[in-house]
């Protein structure tokens, strides 16, 4: 068993390591530019490449930690097992760290700034922004239901606490993304900076929502034994369906049409 685990871990580290260090391809840069309607120039091209490389490195690192933690957790039970939720939670943590560590535009000799306020709504649609709070709302309803029904209260509350932790982490990093300094720079660099913020905010909301929805699925699983008849079957069906729906919602939110703030001279 240990040999299989060693092979899985070493194999994963080799694949993840080579993927994380791989240079950002021209296709990936072009896809980013197309999504955001960005005209790539020599200066802002490097800016976007740095963003793509940094986020990929940290997300892969987070995913690896989640993957290895999941394998290590299952080893005492004499099995090699990868928990998708743990791995994804690691990826999300890596994404948060990447956003927090991302370098801002360099200040030139002039200390100047635009007077246009940066708001989440300027970069991301309200529908995408509402997904995470709505998911937390569902989680809250299920936590209260579990308390009322009186079954698996501890499990339901732990899942709810995990969902709240995701919301807190997302909110803190979201504010950091918005308040990352944006000194006055040439228009192409400002456009790239706005595109990067928009992408970051979409990824954070989408990944956060998916993670919270998986917490909701955990709550549903905890609630299931207390429900009999149609209600139980309904919860079971929702839990099964949710496994597929949650990532789809995340993908749709992540690929939603980005917004770029209006700039006036």
């Amino acid at each position: 068993m240990m040999v299989v685990a060693d092979v899985v871990v070493v194999g994963w580290l080799l694949v993840a390591g080579s993927f994380a260090d791989e240079p950002v391809s021209a296709g990936r840069l072009a896809a980013f530019a197309q999504r955001h309607g960005l005209v790539v120039t020599p200066t802002n091209g490097n800016q976007v490449i740095r963003y793509l490389a940094t986020t990929r490195r940290w997300r892969v690192a987070g995913l690896s930690v989640g993957f290895l933690a999941s394998v290590a957790w299952a080893l005492p039970q004499q099995r090699v097992y990868v928990n998708f939720l743990t791995a994804f939670a690691g990826w999300f943590a890596g994404a948060l760290v990447a956003e927090a560590r991302l370098a801002h535009l360099e200040r030139g000799p002039r200390r100047a700034a635009s007077l246009v306020p940066r708001r989440v709504d300027s970069y991301r649609s309200r529908v995408v922004s509402a997904l995470l709070p709505a998911s937390i709302g569902v989680s809250l309803v299920l936590a209260v239901t579990s308390l009322v029904v009186g079954t698996s209260r501890a499990a339901a509350l732990i899942w709810f606490a995990a969902a709240l932790a995701v919301l807190c982490g997302e909110s803190i990093v979201e504010r950091r993304v918005l308040h990352r300094p944006q000194p006055l720079a040439p228009p192409d660099q400002l456009a790239a900076d706005d595109a990067i913020r928009s992408r970051s905010l979409h990824v954070l909301a989408a990944a956060g929502t998916t993670l919270v929805l998986y917490c909701v699925l955990g709550q549903l699983a905890a609630l299931r034994p207390a429900l009999a008849g149609d209600a139980g079957q309904l919860v079971e069906a929702a839990a099964i369906l949710g496994v597929f729906v949650a990532p789809v919602i995340g993908l749709v939110a992540a690929s939603a049409r980005p917004r770029i703030p209006l700039r006036t001279a």
């Binding site: 100047a112 246009v116 940066r118 300094p181 944006q182 006036t264």
Partner: protein, 124 residues
């Protein structure tokens, strides 16, 4: 709409920010109701301490040029808020006297002067 700070200037940074914003508000480059960036955003973008920008905003608020509300941020005031009605009348009279003096100096008719004033008001 850009605000700029010269670190080498003898004028303190908060005064530079305050003066530029006051000028933009006075000349209606920043019209009434315009939302200003948060203190944290402007401070980060200019590489200043948050207290520096906060002081500039406080002074603008004391002058009645901006209004700060919790959760709504700072917006440009609708008109010289806080100025007593008598003060508004006094300033208006002063400006009218100055305009009348220019009209007399130029030797234009009252009708022309009224028309120029109407044009000026309609543009603002």
């Amino acid at each position: 709409m850009i605000v700029e700070v010269d670190p080498a200037s003898p004028v303190p940074p908060y005064e530079q920010v305050r003066h530029q914003l006051a000028t933009m508000i006075g000349t209606r480059v920043l019209p009434a109701g315009t939302q200003l960036p948060t203190i944290r955003q402007l401070a980060a973008d200019l590489g200043l301490a948050a207290n520096t920008v906060a002081r500039a905003y406080r002074e603008l608020e004391a002058e009645g040029l901006v209004v700060s509300r919790v959760r709504h941020g700072t917006t440009v005031a609708g008109r010289p808020a806080g100025l007593p009605r008598a003060e508004v009348r006094r300033r208006l009279t002063e400006a009218a006297d100055a305009y009348a003096a220019v009209v007399r100096q130029l030797g234009v008719s009252a009708d022309e002067a009224h028309a120029a004033l109407d044009r000026g008001l309609s543009q603002s």
